[in-house]
Symmetry: C2
Subunit: 195 residues, 2 copies
Amino acid sequence: MPRARLLAIARQAFAELGYSGASMSAIATRAGIRKPSLFHHFPTKEGLYVEAVGAALAPMGALVELAAGGDHGFLVRLDRLGELVTDYLGAHPEAARLLVREVLDSGPFLSAPSQPAGVVLDAVRAFLEAGMDAGEFARADARHLALSIVALHLFYFAADPLSGAQIEGSVFDEEQIASRRAAVVGQVRTLVTGS
Amino acid sequence: MPRARLLAIARQAFAELGYSGASMSAIATRAGIRKPSLFHHFPTKEGLYVEAVGAALAPMGALVELAAGGDHGFLVRLDRLGELVTDYLGAHPEAARLLVREVLDSGPFLSAPSQPAGVVLDAVRAFLEAGMDAGEFARADARHLALSIVALHLFYFAADPLSGAQIEGSVFDEEQIASRRAAVVGQVRTLVTGS
DNA sequence: GTCTATACATCGATAGAC
DNA sequence: GTCTATCGATGTATAGAC
């Protein structure tokens, strides 16, 4: 059983059941092995969690830096950011849920001062403020705006069965991702330029 | 130890730690009693959860019905809805977190077909569509819009330590609630009328 | 690397004294 | 109503055979 496969299985279990709800025994069973075999690869549950979840969350921070930077106009970069985030969350069904759980549980990736959530929020807020200063975005409270934009991105994919009941079919189907991308880019653009 | 006090303590524990993470022993300790004493009041953990969390979530559905109905214009009702929801979530620090956890865990209040989350989402979507038909809201995908509006309401309060780091002070301070209320009403208004 | 067997703590839940 | 004591199952983790 390759290590990467175990990490993927654990990631899915943590996303579905949360840290407390996903036992080492349950993860091992999903992988088709016994509990001690899983402990052989990962000596502690916490270590497994950090490695499995960290791999899914790290790209998010990189994404924001990638799109927020660059020499295009603020509106173009904003659209690009929304598309990249939507595509990433759509392509990795566990990512949004893991991130929201981290937020609710104040997990290890939020406690650390230099980790995704806090850094990403600061980056988004700074980007919005810069866009306001440049006159491309309407003047508004950038802190509340940043939190709302992050919220609307994460919740849709994290709430999968609920979101899927609103639209038809699965949230992670290619067509639905394209549909969400269009909707969310329009919404965010309206939010930062309107009123 | 009055029953209502036990329910409040349990509610807080479930909000902080989740269903799996909040043990009957931990809840009993918070209440200053022993585990069997807690079991005397609530024979099963699941029963305690349903009663404690149900009391916090039921008012949310009533709120939406209350504000979405009425004979005012759609924009006025929309503003009122945003204010009521923000005030309720601000006054009950566990509510948003409990609701988001219910969504992630597909808890008992989501599985049931007639329960808060699904019903509320449908009500919000129907309200948005009616407003579009009336010409007060801009034509857009009401399903995606409803999901984003719910997201931006819930996430801000559910992400307390994270949101609190962006603004200064606690999310549940009166001043901060007023600040959020103004921001969120403006954002939602922009979302439904803009573009 | 995977297994059986096991250690020790905690889980949800019960029995019965006070 | 609250307690001590305990049940059986399950939690994380380890020892040691193959």
